[in-house]
């Protein structure tokens, strides 16, 4: 490789790429995997005749692309990166990691039961609070 180094060193240093393009790859992708709101009222689902409270419910959801280096931001297991490499290098039929909820919070619901009794119940995992790539 000595002669190639000599050749390279003789070449005039011309910027072979424009910087803005180069830095684009380090910007966070516009539609990266993140939490989105979806506020609904139980009257839209026609459930308000038996769900007394809450009036509004925001279950939230996860949407967006999973970046390749997912570990630092999504707490993904190493398996996710392996799956990404398989998709990119070995077999594109293996799906890329998906953007899904990783943590939830409960919801308290006040309902009128068919027999006319009233029930206050706390349900687990009813509101997504964090996204992850899996």
């Amino acid at each position: 490789g000595q002669e190639t180094i000599n050749l390279e060193s003789k070449k005039p240093l011309t910027p072979s790429f424009n910087l803005s393009e180069y830095f684009k790859q380090f910007l966070f992708p516009q539609n990266e995997c993140e939490l989105h709101d979806f506020r609904l009222s139980f009257s839209q689902l026609k459930w308000d005749n038996w769900i007394v409270a809450p009036h509004r419910y925001n279950p939230r959801y996860c949407k967006g692309d999973c970046p390749r280096a997912v570990r630092h931001r999504y707490g993904s297991p190493v398996h996710t990166m392996v799956q990404n490499i398989i998709y990119e290098k070995l077999d594109p039929s293996v799906p890329r990691p998906s953007c899904v909820p990783g943590k939830y919070s409960p919801l308290s619901v006040l309902t009128i039961e068919p027999d006319g009794s009233i029930a206050y119940k706390e349900y687990e995992d009813m509101i997504a609070t964090r996204c992850t790539c899996r």
């Binding site: 689902l45 409960p106 308290s108 619901v109 006040l110 027999d115 349900y123």
Partner: protein, 281 residues
């Protein structure tokens, strides 16, 4: 392969959409009674015909439960972390049958002796009773000029407990300016709810007298005649929220045995972490 994969996906999703209703996928096919398996939220989804509840609850009972809801949850429906109780379910039942055994004597604020029948069908096998109260509502909030002492004689008439006489309990308490009166009947109902009794028949004899001048006699007890029965339950099913669980999360699987050492020597562990963090920086 890209194109064929896309066609395969389109075919799969159209096949799914052609499915009349995806919910049967969630339900056991053996025809067992599904409604008890699914929390009420999914029941509405699964049978889509969200029929209104057959019976509408008493407005005072609904008012009481709405106040309870505001105490326990935020406007968005998130359970408040400040609550210290362990129950994640509260059920209020209005009597499905009642009749007066003997007219009340208004001379001493006695209410008519009531026979009450409560149907507890909605209590599931996974819901364990922690506390239960009889809730009387004052027709209008009154501040009694002086303390009033009430004695309430409760007797469970059915189901009869084997051998012993009908369980009964006298309750006395002082009544000042209340909107509601709660009489704790946990000890009476515990054995019945544990034995999955679904209907409870009790008689209630309620008498109040003024502490200062019991001989005054006539004063009108502005109580609703028929009380509600409130059960505070801990639902142990998977979809119910267990706040104690969030208080004491289970140990992370990555934690090995040596992690216990850090618990034993937190100070050394902290300096160790600080040193390694500085080193990494």
């Amino acid at each position: 392969s890209q194109a064929s994969r896309g066609e395969a996906q389109i075919a799969a999703s159209s096949e799914l959409e052609s499915e009349a209703d995806p919910w049967p996928l969630l339900l056991p096919g053996d025809g067992t009674d599904r409604s008890s398996l699914l929390p009420p939220l999914f029941k509405v989804l699964s049978d889509r015909r969200a029929e209104a509840p057959k019976l509408q609850p008493d407005s005072r009972a609904l008012y009481y439960m709405k106040k309870l809801y505001k105490t326990y949850a935020t406007k968005e429906g998130i359970p408040k972390p400040t609550r210290s109780h362990l129950y994640n379910t509260v059920r209020l039942f209005s009597p499905c049958g009642q009749h007066e055994q003997a007219p009340g004597g208004h001379m001493t604020g006695a209410l008519p002796v009531m026979d009450l029948l409560f149907n507890l069908d909605r209590v599931t096998a996974m819901e364990h009773l922690l506390k239960s109260v009889l809730l009387y509502t004052l027709n209008s909030p009154v501040a009694f000029p002086s303390a009033v002492t009430c004695v309430c004689d409760l007797m469970i008439k059915e189901p009869l407990s084997s051998g012993k006489g009908p369980p009964r309990a006298p309750y006395s308490f002082t009544l000042k300016n209340h909107r509601w009166i709660e009489i704790d009947v946990t000890s009476l109902l515990q054995p019945l709810v544990v034995s999955s009794e679904r209907s409870i028949h009790m008689s209630v004899n309620f008498t109040c007298t003024k502490d200062q001048a019991p001989q005054d006699g006539a004063f009108n007890m502005p109580l609703t005649v028929s009380p509600s029965l409130i059960l505070y339950l801990n639902d142990t099913s998977a979809q119910a929220y267990h706040s104690w669980h969030s208080l004491y999360p289970t140990r992370r699987p990555s934690q090995g045995p040596d992690q216990d050492r850090s618990v034993a020597h937190p100070v050394e562990e902290a300096t160790e972490v600080e040193r390694s963090a500085r080193h990494r920086r």
